[in-house]
Symmetry: C2
Subunit: 315 residues, 2 copies
Amino acid sequence: MDLRHLRYFIAVAEEENIGRAAARLHISQPPLTRQIQQLEEELGVRLFTRTPKGMELTQAGELFLEEARNIRAVVEQATERTQRAGQGKLGRLDVAIFGSGILGTIPRLLLAFRNDYPEVKTVLHTMTKAEQIEALRQRRITVGFNRMLAPLPDLATELVATEPLLLAVNENHPLARERHVSFRMLAEHPMVLFPTGARPNFIDKVMRLCEEAGFVPKVSQEVGDAVTGVALVAGGFGICLVPESVTVLTLPGVVFRPLQDASSNAHIDLSCLYRADDQSPILSAFLETVRAFRSAHISGKAAGMRSETGWDAGI
Amino acid sequence: MDLRHLRYFIAVAEEENIGRAAARLHISQPPLTRQIQQLEEELGVRLFTRTPKGMELTQAGELFLEEARNIRAVVEQATERTQRAGQGKLGRLDVAIFGSGILGTIPRLLLAFRNDYPEVKTVLHTMTKAEQIEALRQRRITVGFNRMLAPLPDLATELVATEPLLLAVNENHPLARERHVSFRMLAEHPMVLFPTGARPNFIDKVMRLCEEAGFVPKVSQEVGDAVTGVALVAGGFGICLVPESVTVLTLPGVVFRPLQDASSNAHIDLSCLYRADDQSPILSAFLETVRAFRSAHISGKAAGMRSETGWDAGI
DNA sequence: TTGAAACGATACCTTGAAGGTATTGATGGC
DNA sequence: GCCATCAATACCTTCAAGGTATCGTTTCAA
């Protein structure tokens, strides 16, 4: 049995006349007659009673008509769903984020993606950079978010956003009195650094910036993530350099200060990481959204745009 | 798209290798390659990623695999159900019964039919004989039950059972004292007759029997059905001749007496009526059950058989 | 490094079944 | 009794599914 048989059967059942059904199907009458005979023979069931007026469904034919229509609908749905999946509009995207990645940019990006592709289920996994790389290679995730990356042969990156660094400082700290802090003012102040884990990471960036400003930072504490870092600032452990997006996190006693001489160096990239050989349309769609997000965000920041996600209001 | 494409796709998806899949399908590798390409092209979706190791499903392919398996199952079910319908094992049978037909034989027959064909839904309609004929001609019912029939050109009958006639009499009536009543003893006793409606009917049979016994019955009352007739006997309206199956109906004050000289004439047939041109397998199945029921009932009465329906115990 | 094996893709041929034309057979209306 | 209207049949054509041979890649082992 073939889908053609079903199409023909439905036409004959609806027209109750082989000639008319053949016309509707744009074929001539004899082949249609044969196809129906063939279908009946294959099923071993008489689907029509032939009358001089035309073709009349038997009870079994009546049932088969329902079934045939149902099969057609199921097939149609299947192709449509598969096509949507092939266009990256339907499916699942496994995304890895790092500890404090839930703050700021990433949720906004994911929300924008969900807006564009509502039928793609995004599943979040919290992973360190090393875990992300491993998971990408094992295909357990499709994209990972990261701040500092050494180029890897089999993985590619796409820049998501560039954020200036801010100083997180306790309100009782001398530097809290300054409206703008210059980089060299940080010397001698004990500093909380993060994250621990695989290099290169954010720590290396901070170290290099301090070095360029002509001093070596006094390390107060190394912690796993930005949230813990800011918490230690609240506790008076010292100062801490953080990406701007961390400012959505308000802890009592912590204030954020811009770095007066923040050059383009004093910025940190947020990128997403994916398999270079991954052809998945959902990944392509996601990367497309990332690019759109990036340009909208850059121009939008200047023009006050991109409020449709409902996030900008609170930031 | 064809069901063949689905079959091929499933094989390739399961084997993850076109060569092995082709072997499983008993075709050679190149046509299978082409069929898969064709399917992908038609859907406009890449279902597999070709690796040097074989064929690996994409996410869309993964989805389509589920869909394809589902379609196959749906098609399989559809053919199976249609085949059962074609064998009269699945469907619906519209049956007409007359007023007091719910008593005795008919329910037992219908139960036997349900036992044999549990997936055929029998729908009961209460109709007079004239209504049954009309409904048969309009195909609103498939079989009707009746007691007396004039032969009709387009309708055929099948004998269901032959029942002796009994006398229903009030316990205070003089005839109630007799253990066996002979036919001519009925003369002069007012008699309740049924049913009213289209001739020939049960009344004609009773009249002829009386005539043969040499008297004309004194009609006390004509009523619509046996139940009403027996009810009037309970109320003292007179005596009433009824088919044996009516004895399942026990009303206070009514006793039933066999007719001593009950010849083969003093029997009444119960037949079922159907369209002579009806080829429906459900009707054939039903008539087959009727025949089996009839012979089992005749021999079973003697041998005490046919208790599997659970009815015999109470009768 | 090279050769063999395994994989899918391509080229080209064969065949079977779907589709077309012409016609037949049967039934009902005028 | 003739014609119109069905479906069915006979016979031919064509197109696509299937077969054989071969190619281009990649991987693995000698």
